[in-house]
């Protein structure tokens, strides 16, 4: 059937068909590369440490442990329980340190402060330190991601 007029010339139609096909082909080649450049995250699901290492801590003291390749902190509470944090500043990801005399966590990168419960109290941090769930199972201390 011959149309009296068309919005498309045959050339424009074929060009866009071939162009679209080439773009799809390019995307098919590039997508595996985009996938390749981000490796899977290696955060542990849980960490187990001997309870004996942490049992004799005085209340309000803090001890470090390894949360995967990040520092973690365990704090002994008044009632003898534990709370755990990821020791990484919520501002720009620097590792924090516990200043025992002030019972506060300190980030040296941009002078951020958290209280002993991980609450952001001064400086640029926008959120509290990330909490982890702690449980005692037999003679082991199990630290997990918080549900």
């Amino acid at each position: 059937m011959k149309l009296p007029y068309s919005l498309f010339s045959r050339r424009a139609f074929l060009n866009s068909l071939i162009g679209g096909w080439l773009a799809a082909l390019g995307a098919a080649f590039i997508s595996p590369l985009v996938k390749y450049i981000v490796p899977p995250t290696r955060e542990p699901d849980q960490v187990s440490t001997p309870l004996a290492d942490f049992e004799n801590m005085a209340p309000h003291t803090v001890k470090g442990f390894a949360w995967g390749n990040k520092p973690g902190f365990l704090k002994k509470t008044d009632d003898g329980g534990f709370i755990a944090f990821v020791g990484v500043c919520t501002h720009l990801d620097c590792n924090v340190s516990f200043v025992a005399e002030q019972r506060r966590f300190y980030c040296a990168c941009h002078e951020g402060w958290y209280d002993e419960n991980g609450l952001n109290v001064a400086g640029p941090p926008p959120a509290p330190l990330r909490r982890l769930a702690v449980s005692v199972e037999g003679d082991a201390l199990i630290i997990k991601k918080q549900a």
């Binding site: 981000v38 390894a66 501002h91």
Partner: protein
């Protein structure tokens, strides 16, 4: 000799280039010194390539060996300390000149038609220079470089949509690890050099294509701007400038060689009183004093968005200020001064 020259000429046709250079003129006016900033950047770029290759002979980009291999370069390799010091100082000189080059062009409005593309490639090269500095800073793998990289790669995370993905691409995963070191190394020695070479090629071609821009105030004086032949007059002046800069470079490199801190420990708290390289100080201070929440939004995201908007405005300056070359552009001049004053002020504040 002449036979050899004729043989090469027949095959390469280089007389088109040499003929162009022999005829090239450089305008002479009170801002002619700005022209030296561009060629001096090239001088330091060549020094960076040579010293970078030399460092690469002994450097090992792995978690276990990176710090130790830089210590070995500094202590055991003949004149290794000097090669590293020159590489570090030459980077500083180069970035300082890149900023000077940019400001000179902003003040003289040389980015206006028809030189928009030259400006855009120039701003991309500024980005490449900063990326070279940022990736190179991690390679010694000491406490400072780890903390700086954690902060720098965390910044894009605040951006909407692509932010978290960008951070993962830069870090090779969620955290800064040995994979980040490999990635920074390959960017520093391969990806960025290739990209920079391509942009420099286009940039230099466009500079020759359009000729040197003459500040309009000179043309307004109503007399023809006097010129200096590029060869040999201007080239000799340039050589003089280069000699002075080389003297400053070697003096700084010999008297103030950079040190190296203890090997980075992924579990250790960030060291006290950390500071990035001087050209990132103004951003560092901005992040430090920016409030945690602004108008109910995450302050960090706000700060990063403002910085990104600033960079985009810089890149697109010729299209924002697209008025004819004859216009004065007092607003742009004022903005350039404001930006400079802000950067210097924040940098000084961060050092107090």
């Amino acid at each position: 000799m002449n036979v050899l020259r004729a043989w090469i000429e027949d095959r390469l046709g280089l007389s088109a280039v040499t003929g162009f250079l022999a005829k090239k003129d450089v305008p002479r006016h009170k801002h002619t010194f700005l022209y030296y900033t561009g060629s001096s950047i090239l001088l330091f770029l060549v020094i960076q390539i040579v010293t970078g290759v030399l460092l690469g002979f002994y450097y090992q980009p792995t978690l276990a060996e990176a710090n130790a291999s830089v210590v070995r370069i500094m202590t055991e390799m003949p004149l290794g300390w000097l090669v590293r010091s020159v590489h570090s100082w030459s980077a500083t000189f180069m970035i300082a000149l890149v900023f000077a080059h940019l400001l000179g062009i902003a003040f003289t409005k040389a980015y206006r038609k028809p030189r928009e593309a030259t400006w855009v490639t120039g701003v991309l090269l500024l980005g490449a220079s900063l990326a070279f500095g940022f990736t190179g800073y991690l390679l010694p793998w000491d406490e400072l470089s780890l903390a700086a990289t954690k902060v720098g790669t965390d910044l894009p995370k605040a951006l909407p949509v692509v932010g978290p993905w960008l951070t993962q691409v830069m870090r090779a995963g969620g955290d800064v690890t040995g994979d980040t070191l490999s990635r920074f190394f390959i960017f520093h020695v391969s990806v960025l050099p290739l990209a920079a070479m391509a942009f420099i090629g286009v940039h230099l071609f466009l500079v020759q294509r359009h000729g040197m821009s003459v500040p309009h105030e000179e043309e307004r004086k109503g007399v023809n701007v006097p010129v200096l032949p590029f060869w040999p007059n201007f080239a000799f002046r340039e050589a003089g400038v280069w000699l002075v800069l080389l003297g400053l470079l070697t003096t700084s490199a010999v008297l103030a060689a950079p040190g190296i801190g203890p090997q980075a420990d992924l579990m250790a708290p960030a060291p006290q009183g950390i500071k990035p390289e001087w050209y990132f100080l103004f951003m560092f201070q901005t992040l430090k004093v920016f409030p945690a929440r602004v108008l109910g939004l995450n302050g960090e995201m706000f700060a990063v968005l403002i910085m990104m908007a600033g960079m985009a405005a810089l890149l697109l300056l010729p299209f924002i200020d697209n008025r004819p070359f004859e216009r004065k552009g007092k607003v742009i001049t004022a903005l350039a001064w404001t930006g400079l004053a802000y950067a210097i002020g924040m940098s000084i504040w961060s050092l107090l």
